[in-house]
Structures are given as C-alpha cells and as structure tokens.
C-alpha cells in the first residue's frame, strides 16, 4: 500500500537528520567539559551546527505544516475525541500483552488510518507542541536580547533554557520510542523500508 508520498518522505528524512544533529550538539553544549576529548562535539562546533540545523529545521517544519494543510496527509493527525482513552488503552494493551499472545493488531494500517491512536497522540504532541516550543525557546536563546529579563523574579533566560532542554529531552525520548516501535512491524525492518520506499507492507500482505 502506497502510504508515504515523496514530500512526506523527504520531510521525514530531513527531520530525522536534523533532529539527530540537534540532539548530539545540544547534549554536547549542555555536558561540555574543559577537556575537549570528553565531548561528543567541541562547544564551538556544537554551537555552529546546532544553529545551522535549527535554522534548517524551522524551514522543514514550515514545509511539513504547509504540506499537511495543503494535502490529505493532515487528516492523519486529527485526534478523535470519541473513544480516545479506550483506544489508547487498546493499543497499549496490544504492545504490552496482545502482540505476545498473537492477537490481531487492534488498529491495522490503512489509507484511512495511517497511525494507531498511540502514534497519533505522540506525533501530535511531538510535532505540534514540543517542536514549536523547542523552536520558540531556541530562538530566545539564539537572540537573548529578545527574552524578558525577569519573570516572577526568575531570570527569563533560565526559564527559556529549561523549557528548551525539557522539550529537547522529550523529543529525544520520543525519538527512542519512535525508533523502537518502528521495529514492531511484520519484520524488524519492514516499517523502516516503508518510509524509504513509500510502500507499507501490513501483516496481511
């Protein structure tokens, strides 16, 4: 089933590469030491690549949002209020119990439903909550003069930075979970193949 059009695959590829660069360089800046050899990337290089990758990520994000508005891809991100929690629990139960008992997938992939309820809520939180927040707080850190000095007695820069690293951490956790759940297809690499070729092979194929 052809599920991932070219623009989605291109966006996804650049998003993946840029997020990886941002995580590595972000960790390098946070955990920098005086001894260069203990770093993943030296501070100066980390700052440079973090800024470049962040700028490209913003363009890529705008491309993603416009793509979702202009094409039918946006419908996959609409959260259905009906049976929201029960559907989430069904999916969680499948991952933690049902799949080991050989049960059928409760929400098989189709052209109408690309994501299961757990994917949908996590993708929406990642792409429409965490990513905008990490971008806005990142712009604040890039242009510190735009950040308010004090907010209820606390430095605006500290609040901005804590928001940035917290959202960055959430996206890192999302990335690990996302990569792992992508091994839960028919075969460990079949879902990865899907996002590269555009064709999804379901359990029934």
């Amino acid at each position: 089933m052809y599920l991932y059009p070219v623009w989605v695959r291109l966006w996804h590829f650049f998003n993946a590469v840029l997020i990886l660069i941002l995580i590595i360089t972000g960790i390098s800046m946070q955990y920098t030491g005086k001894d260069e050899s203990t770093l993943i990337v030296g501070f100066a290089r980390a700052v440079k690549w973090h800024n470049i990758a962040a700028g490209l990520l913003i363009f890529n994000y705008v491309f993603f949002v416009i793509g979702n508005i202009a094409t039918a891809n946006g419908k996959y991100y609409k959260i259905e209020k009906r049976n929201f929690f029960s559907d989430l629990m069904k999916q969680l139960r499948y991952y933690s119990w049902g799949m080991f008992k050989g049960e059928e997938h409760p929400f098989p992939v189709s052209l109408e439903r690309k994501f299961n309820p757990l994917q949908r809520i996590s993708y929406v939180l990642a792409m429409y909550v965490a990513l905008p927040l990490v971008v806005i707080s990142g712009l604040g850190l890039l242009f510190p003069e735009t950040v308010i000095n004090r907010f209820f007695g606390i430095s605006g820069l500290i609040i901005t930075d804590i928001l940035h690293i917290t959202m960055g951490f959430c996206l890192s956790i999302f990335l690990v979970v996302h990569i792992y759940t992508c091994t839960l297809g028919r075969k460990p690499f079949s879902l990865f193949r899907g996002i590269i070729t555009g064709y999804h092979k379901s359990d029934e194929d």
């Binding site: 800046m29 946070q30 920098t32 030491g33 501070f43 510190p144 003069e145």
Partner: protein, 328 residues
Amino acid sequence: MRSMRSWLLIYVLLISVRPAANGFNGRQATNQDTTTFVSPFYGENERCFKCHGQSKYEYTNENLGRQVKALMFSERVIDRDKFYDSNHKSFSCTDCHSVDYVTFPHPGELRMEQQYNCLDCHGGDDKFAKFGFEAIEEDYQASVHFKLEEGGFSCWKCHNPHSYKISARNSNNLKETVLYDNNICLNCHANFSHFQLLTDRDEINILAKHDWLPNQSSHFKSVRCIECHSEVNNNVLVSHLIHPKEKAVKKCNECHSQNSLLMSSLYKFESKKQRKDGFFNGIILNESYVIGANRNEYLNIFSLAIFGVLIIIIGTHIFFRLIRKQNK
C-alpha cells in the same frame, strides 16, 4: 607663648592630615557610599581646581598687566565630580603633588616631579593586604603592558588616580562593573588617539577582531575583556597579567563548562556564596546565564532516571519478543 602656638599648629596639622592617612579604613569606606561626601580639603583643593577643573583658565599676567585667558592642556584637566567620587576623594592635591604647586606660575622644575605609583602608598602595608598590591605588581610586570612602560605606560593609564573607583569589590551590579572595567580597556584599545601614544601598532577594530565570538554583544555586556585576555591569579581579585592576543582564551568551554573559568575570575568575589537550587555555578544565574556552566543537578538526575526506565522497558519488551520468537 610661642611654644604653645607651635603645639597648637602641630595639633591642627595632625587633625587635617588624618583623613587622608585613613583613606581606606572602614569609616571612610562607609563614607564612600554616601552622596554627601565633603572633602576636608575641598577649599584647599579648589585653589588647584580653579584652573585645572576645566579646559580654560584665567590668571593675572603681571608682565602684561592684565587678565589672560588660556586653554588647559587636556591631560591636566581634572574632573571635580569624578575626583570627589573616586577612591582618592579624601586626599588633598598636595598629598601626592608637591606643595610648591601652590605658587603660580608653577616653578619649572616641578615638571620633573617624580610621580608616585600604586605601590608607593599601597605596598607593604597590612591595611591594604587584602587587595594584594604586591601580587598585582608581579602580574603587571609579567604582562604585555609592562613592556610599554618605557614608552610611558604606568598604573595610571588604566587606573586614573583622579577618577578611579574600585568596582568589582564594592558593586552590587555586576553589569555596571563589567561596563566600567571594559571601558578602562576600551579607553585605549578602541580609541586610536590614546592607543597610538603608547604603541606603533595599527588601529584595532575590536568588533571585527571578535567576529568569531557568537552573541558578541551579549558577551561584551556580560563579561570583562580580562576574562579572556588575562591569567587568573588566585591571590588577587582582578587579574593584571594581561596576555598577548595570541594567548587569549578562545575555547568556549573554558567558560561554558561545569568548572567554568568565570567562577575564578568575574564571579570570584561572589563564588563563596552558594545557591541551593541545584544549579551548577548557580551564583552566575544571579546576573546571567551561561550554557554548559549552569546545568541543573536535579534535572540531570531526573532525566537520567526517565531515560533509564525507558531503556529497562524497551529491554524487557525485546526480551519477551525474543522468547516469543523462540517459542514460535
């Protein structure tokens, strides 16, 4: 009767000299913070300020038999307000300059008057021990500035005795200290008319030279030039060992790290105070925020715990998947 008059004169002189001698004691330090300071030598100093307090002066030329107006050489103009706000504000002009200056025209040989340097008054005195003047002198003699001494460089080029105000130790506003201290450097390094008096080097464009520095304006507002251009000396509050430009700190992580250089330089005086909210080098946060230096210990532990739990969950999931695969 004559002897009594002599004793009275000595007594009056002693009273009038005491404030100058006690210039740096606690009582005077408190006075320094008030805006109502009135120098005991105000009237006496005014004899000098009458001409040296502004760029024009007027005197009676007896040869011509009339009043003459003349321009004061800019180096000899002393700003009254700055002087009475400076560290040396309680001094009489003649504490440092010859009493012969009270005559006008000033005797020609006074031009050869030997100027004091800092150690002449501040050296070898327990009262000033906490300032570490001897260590400062050692730093200075090893610095690039000392090489310019033959060409006229001295302590006064940075610390104008008529206006210098100790900053880092007394200020409650670190940003003002940074501005004050950086202006001392920029007075020569960004002002070619001053710079060329001491060196044959070409004019320096400070902004262009620091092009490589990200967030240049934030750095210039938040740290002093000496943070990168001098070597930290644990015996003095402000390092005076200015390095040649090739040896300036260029590695970001010297400051942007857990054991940040800033804690032993700009924040040295405050680093003894500690915050208890888990931030490394937390004292910096009172004034600024330094990526890499201001991580939060609690957030570190919390994030590692979450990541650890996630890895355990994924590991367990993989384990059961492998068991199911074997049982198929």
